[in-house]
């Protein structure tokens, strides 16, 4: 990157450290932090949308939709979520390949599931075998986002369903007494009032989502854990920058990154929580009212 770094073996001290930390691999490492943040930025709204939909489905008057919503929210109880992460990624991958198989393959005489195994013709592979590593990474990342969104959507649905139940019935009846229709009550009263009850649960989920991001590594996306292991491992003289086993320091760096994320989120979410509690008929709102007098 810098002119001074042309011959890494000849430099030492601070220059060496600077050159080492700006090597191509390290730049990839810094970009992988962006991958994690991108995952958070995409997953959170999608999971919110799925969760909201799930909660609405669970409250529906139409029985099949209600069953679907209830099943979705019940899905996450009792089973380790890492199982879902491992399961959904393969299941989605196979689902896509299966549809592709039906579309492009000429020989459909063989069943796709033979015994306990899964076979599609080579042309149906997604992404195609000739695809660049970048496309492969992008596909892996996409699958990861969908998986995270489905699993976290179920958690969000649980929280929002509970929060909708917690809105005092009297408030909804007041709306009805003013002549609002069911839809208007839902849109104008239930949804705005729900947030103060949903926020503690959503805060918790956000913290858990942050802490779930290293699982990207299991979904074979080149994330920060991958690079920390890659870069930290012992490098012999054959490499430009030989060094002993530094993985410990890389993982310490990751630890600090996650602790900082947690701390910042805590501060921001406390502010939002205070804003939402203002004037609410809850313990927090009451405490604020008393403090203001």
């Amino acid at each position: 990157m810098f002119a001074a770094c042309a011959d890494p073996k000849a430099i030492e001290g601070l220059t060496w450290a600077m050159c080492y930390l700006t090597s191509g691999k390290h730049v990839d490492f810094y970009w992988s932090f962006v991958t994690v943040l991108a995952l958070l930025a995409i997953t959170a709204p999608v999971a919110m949308a799925l969760g909201f939909g799930g909660a609405m489905a669970a409250r529906s008057h139409i029985t099949p939709i209600r069953w679907f919503g209830k099943a979705y929210t019940a899905m996450v109880r009792g089973v380790p979520d890492i199982v879902y992460f491992l399961f959904f990624v393969i299941a989605l991958d196979q689902g896509i390949e299966y549809l592709n198989h039906l579309r492009v393959c000429e020989d459909l005489s063989q069943p796709v599931f033979r015994g306990l195994e899964f076979h599609v013709c080579p042309e149906a592979k997604v992404p195609p075998a000739s695809a660049s590593p970048f496309v492969n990474q992008l596909y892996g990342f996409g699958l990861a986002v969908i998986t995270f969104a489905i699993v976290f959507g179920a958690f969000v649905a649980n929280v929002i369903f509970g929060a909708m139940q917690a809105v005092p019935r009297a408030q909804l009846e007041t709306g009805e007494a003013y002549g609002m229709s069911q839809r208007q009550v839902f849109r104008r009263i239930l949804v705005p009032q729900m947030w103060t009850y949903a926020l503690p649960g959503l805060t918790n989920l956000w913290m858990i989502l942050i802490k779930a991001t290293p699982l990207l590594f299991l979904l074979s996306v080149k994330d920060i854990v991958y690079y920390a292991r890659e870069l930290g491992g012992t490098k012999t003289q054959a490499y430009d920058y030989p060094h002993p086993d530094w993985r410990l320091f890389y993982f310490l760096g990751l630890l600090v990154f996650y602790l900082a994320m947690t701390k910042i989120s805590e501060i921001v979410l406390t502010r939002i929580s205070n804003r939402l509690s203002k004037g609410q008929a809850t313990a927090a709102g009451e405490a604020m009212r008393k403090a203001a007098i």
Partner: protein, 275 residues
Amino acid sequence: MSCWETFTDYALRSVGIGAKLLPKADFTLCQQFTLIGSGLIWNVYFAALALLFGFFLANALALARIAHSPFIRKPAEWFVFIFRGSPLFIQFFLAYEMLVLLPRTGINLFGITIVTSWLTKAWAGALIVLFLNTAAYSAEIFYGALRSIPKGDLEAAEAYGLTGWHKFRRIQWPTMLRLAWPSYTNEAIFLFQSTTLVFFSGFPAFSQQGDALYYANYFADKTFNPFIPYPIVAFYFVILTLGVIWLFGRINRHLNRHLPQNSRSKIRLRPQLIR
């Protein structure tokens, strides 16, 4: 090969008893059920021991957190923040890298050599991480419970002349436990689930002796079919969760035995995720 033969070969495979090689081809449902069930031994081992030891440390930490002296309070707060604020996954990696750095030959202390190589094995290293992690989470629960003990209970204890250790042992601690128990049950379930991360993090599985998810992943990799092994894991874990709820429910009933039926706190299963 009959299912019974498979069972005798693989039921204790995860602890190194039975057949040496894992099945390589023609996987039967029976093999998958047996081998994944055998891996469950590790999940139970990790969770049960971590919970047992963690309980004591959590009590100590919760007490340290309500201490007045900042020299006791601050370290406990930092401990809880670090273990609750970072992913367990990273903690496993970090602990493994740290333990690997210990000298292979052992530490020489006053002429006695302390062997440290066993610490890098999952059975010890991962157990230590899980122990510290659950202690931090439980400490937060116990701390919250300690702070929500009704003021009247403490005043009544003082009116009876109970102070210091006696007040703590006879009033505060039992009440704390009773208030914290429903959340603590969730924490226990949650811990059982996070034991599945052990062999997916830094800790390697030696001679293919892993936990339930390790074997499920093995089958899914070999057959390219996730629809059989993962639901089996899910099935085992639902049973395990029900077992934990039953056991903790019994303890909960014992803790609440002096209260009238309608004011007992019930255990409600709340969804939790990875830490």
